[in-house]
Symmetry: C2
Subunit: 215 residues, 2 copies
Amino acid sequence: MVGRGKIEIKRIENTTTRQVTFSKRRGGLFKKTKELSVLCDAQIGHLLQHRQDVGLVHRTLQIIEKYQRSTGARILERDNHPRETLRLELGIQRYLGEDMGCLQYEDLSKLEQELENSMAKVRNRQNELLQQQLENLRRKINDQEQRAVMEFEKATVEGSKAVHAMDHHFPFFEEQPAGSILQLACSVLPHLQYPYLQLAQPNIQDSLRAHNHNN
Amino acid sequence: MVGRGKIEIKRIENTTTRQVTFSKRRGGLFKKTKELSVLCDAQIGHLLQHRQDVGLVHRTLQIIEKYQRSTGARILERDNHPRETLRLELGIQRYLGEDMGCLQYEDLSKLEQELENSMAKVRNRQNELLQQQLENLRRKINDQEQRAVMEFEKATVEGSKAVHAMDHHFPFFEEQPAGSILQLACSVLPHLQYPYLQLAQPNIQDSLRAHNHNN
DNA sequence: CTCTATACATAACT
DNA sequence: AGTTATGTATAGAG
């Protein structure tokens, strides 16, 4: 790293010397980088910029693109991200309905349409989920009912625990159209987001039973 | 780059040798990088990974973090972007109502609410824009009307061009509630997204005038 | 820019 | 991980 005299590794104050050194060493660095990547089959990307450029992502991209062109090296996937990130950030901002000052009526209509589409998809998915949970709920209840019937028969034969067995029998669910069961579960316990999961809890069974008894 | 014999710059096939070389040269590269950054007051970041790891952003981040820790160097802003990008991508996907397989009912409700909010904002902004365009439209028409009156008076005095002056007079707009004017402009020319801007065009004035005459 | 003496990096070997 | 012979990178000069 020296040549005609050793140098101390500290900031070179003379501007000309510093720029010359920068140029020379950058060349050497790139050469070594390329050699390493070829010799060892490694992916290497350099991000190199003068301190005064810090923060200028655009400039960074230029440097990277130049580096990519000059070496033919494919740099990391990360390289396209600043631009990409900006695009995504703007996209999110858009969907959040923020910073709409620059949008024309036309743009807003389009955005509204997109939001409408998203809303439809979300509601579809919500319905799907509800249907699924409903199915689980019905299956669960069917199982419980069968078990209850068995227990009841067993109890009457044994002449004990009959009342307990009845507590597990929910004829209400047999007579309702599909949608109502979940609605019931939700209206009885509005804070319930996962009726199926929660149904396993005793207190919910109690609630459902109470509702059932009232009807 | 040699020492005990020169080497050709091409992939080292012997795995052990390749790994040793990688390790040594990487050290040298980092040393030179650090020297350059100190000597020339430059910001340099290295992104370095074995080819088999390509695509594993997580691993890349680990390398970068390790590099940052070991050198104390602040690497570029870009360093946080992969994580950020992922977050943003997921966010966008969310607002587009895509890939909802992993969302629970609870999440969907929240998303629905957010979309509802965005929609409200967008519609508010649309209304704002409409109001503004309406205001511009009214002002424009007022100006034209005044000019028309002046021209009409001038014309009657001069005994010429009276018919032409009347063409610029739109009493229709005076009698309508605020919303109707824009609706009219839009219904007359449905392809119009910017009634105000377009009103300056002669053909639209013609259309409005025609509509006015029919009523 | 080029040149060149010299310090440095490192390939091969232990 | 250490050693060393040798090729490279490069500081300073032209």
